[in-house]
Amino acid sequence: MTVTTNLGTVLEVVTATDTGMVRSHNEDSIAADAQIGLAVLADGMGGYNAGEVASGIAVAMLTTEMKQALEHGEPHEIKGVSGEPTAVALIRETSAKANAAIFQTAKSQPQYAGMGTTLVVALFYDNRMTVGHIGDSRLYRLRSETFEQVTRDHSLLQDQIDSGLISKEQARFSQNKNLVTRAVGIDPEVETEIHTYDVSPGDIYLLCSDGLSDMVVDDDIQATLVTLQSNLQLAAKQLVQQANDNGGRDNVSVILVRVLADFAVPTGWFARFKAWFR
């Protein structure tokens, strides 16, 4: 008998999305569910409204599939011989399913040909967070005033930075921005980059599309989060507003997750016994 965890009191989640100042519609899709500790963000690409369709499929599939799977299994459980927690396998499988779905849809309808999306998904459980990502939508962490980009972009620019061709500061002036080297739905198969991290109470995580990170420098994002951390709603609004004030050349989406307390899974028979009465 599984104890279904409810993280609603442990995680504070806030979302915001905006078409921006230039685009005619919003091709970002986002979803978050504090109870199951899930946050998903996708930035779609493709002609006409294909981007919307692609990112929509990705987010819908991930949310539905993961909710269902979490009713029958706990994310921290180790299943099978791989030794990895269910959360990792779950993210891998559902991303693969989303990729197949988008790829098939694109093949079957000419107006969607070539459509794709980025993806960043975070699942919180047992004082940990498993993050999967494809593309250049990002996850950042703010931990006692230290602000760090956790995911590494799958983009031409990042490859150039990694190979020493261009410095991070100079990269801001590149005209080759927004060229991703990996995306969901454009190939029959895609590999999701997945990592697991420990989380501490007080941590604030930011998932965002490049509509934010391209318009607002990391230092300003950090300043906003540090200054407004007591009011995450306002922080999210402020981030979107800054992106728009700086030009708003793309859709901008943010999800903020704050860890309020410890949420380790009780182990040992007495702890689990106690958990029944929570």
Binding site: A50, I166, Q175, L179, V180, A183, S230
Partner: protein, 246 residues
């Protein structure tokens, strides 16, 4: 395609398109851009172009390479940058916008297709056989308009404002509002933030049971634009907002 406009003493000599991945500059004859001048080294500098970016690199020249007056080792060229080699000036002009481009095309995320094997593109030196494929072939593939550097922060209102504390132990103190966000008040009791935006300064309630009071009237939860000489009351302290004369 991007190009360099070479001039000497303000007289334009010639235009040089950057039509190759590697363009060498120097005094020796084998260079793509040969500058026959003693102040220029045999192999002076190199420009590597990858898709829409051009990178200028000084090759350890005797007299150095300047961009907009500053000596550089490696520099990513921006539209209208002026490169100085010896006494020669080379103005960089990035690709001009095509007729079909629209502002909306700019910042569109596109997928970069690497050659077989899905390897990411290699550093310069390899043959440039990567191609860029927009995610939907139907979309017109034309270069976007030359962007302003996206790193430039919002042009905040040119006027700087400040607040002067009117009451309490810090009365008389003045705080210039130069940052994008300035918080005021007592954390845990009452906090408001003053945001500096392109079209003015705004005050918004952040936390606390009571809302800020401006000119005697309580605010609501929305942002409120501040006007010259507004009096704000927060956490029991009165302060005046005013624009400083430049």
């Amino acid at each position: 395609m991007a190009k360099l406009i070479m001039s000497l003493d303000n007289a334009v000599i010639r235009e040089l398109p950057l039509d190759k991945e590697r363009v060498t500059i120097g005094r020796k004859a084998h260079n793509d851009i040969q500058i026959d001048n003693l102040a220029v080294s045999g192999e002076h500098a190199l420009i590597v172009t990858i898709l829409k970016d051009s990178f200028l690199e000084d090759l350890g020249s005797t007299n150095g390479t300047l961009v907009n007056g500053n000596p550089i080792k490696k520099h990513i060229l921006q539209n209208n940058d002026v490169v100085e080699i010896g006494k020669y000036k080379l103005k960089y002009e990035s690709e001009s916008p095509g007729g079909q481009s629209s502002v909306a095309d700019f910042e569109k995320t596109m997928v970069l297709r690497a050659p077989m094997g899905g390897k990411p593109p290699e550093a310069p030196g390899s043959s440039g056989d990567t191609q860029v494929r927009p995610a939907a072939p139907a979309a017109p593939k034309s270069p976007p308009p030359t962007p302003a550097p996206t790193a430039a922060p919002a042009k905040s209102t040119d006027k700087i404002a400040a607040i002067q504390i009117l009451s309490g132990p810090s009365a008389g103190k003045e705080l210039e509002l130069v940052k994008n966000l300035t918080t005021l008040g007592k954390p845990g009791v009452q906090v408001a933030v003053i945001t500096r935006r392109p079209h003015g300064y705004f005050i918004t309630h952040v936390e606390g049971a009571t809302l800020p009071v401006v000119n005697g009237k309580s605010l609501d939860a929305q942002a409120h634009q501040l006007n010259d000489h507004d009096v704000v009351e927060l956490a029991g302290v009165k302060m005046e907002f005013f624009f400083k004369n430049n």
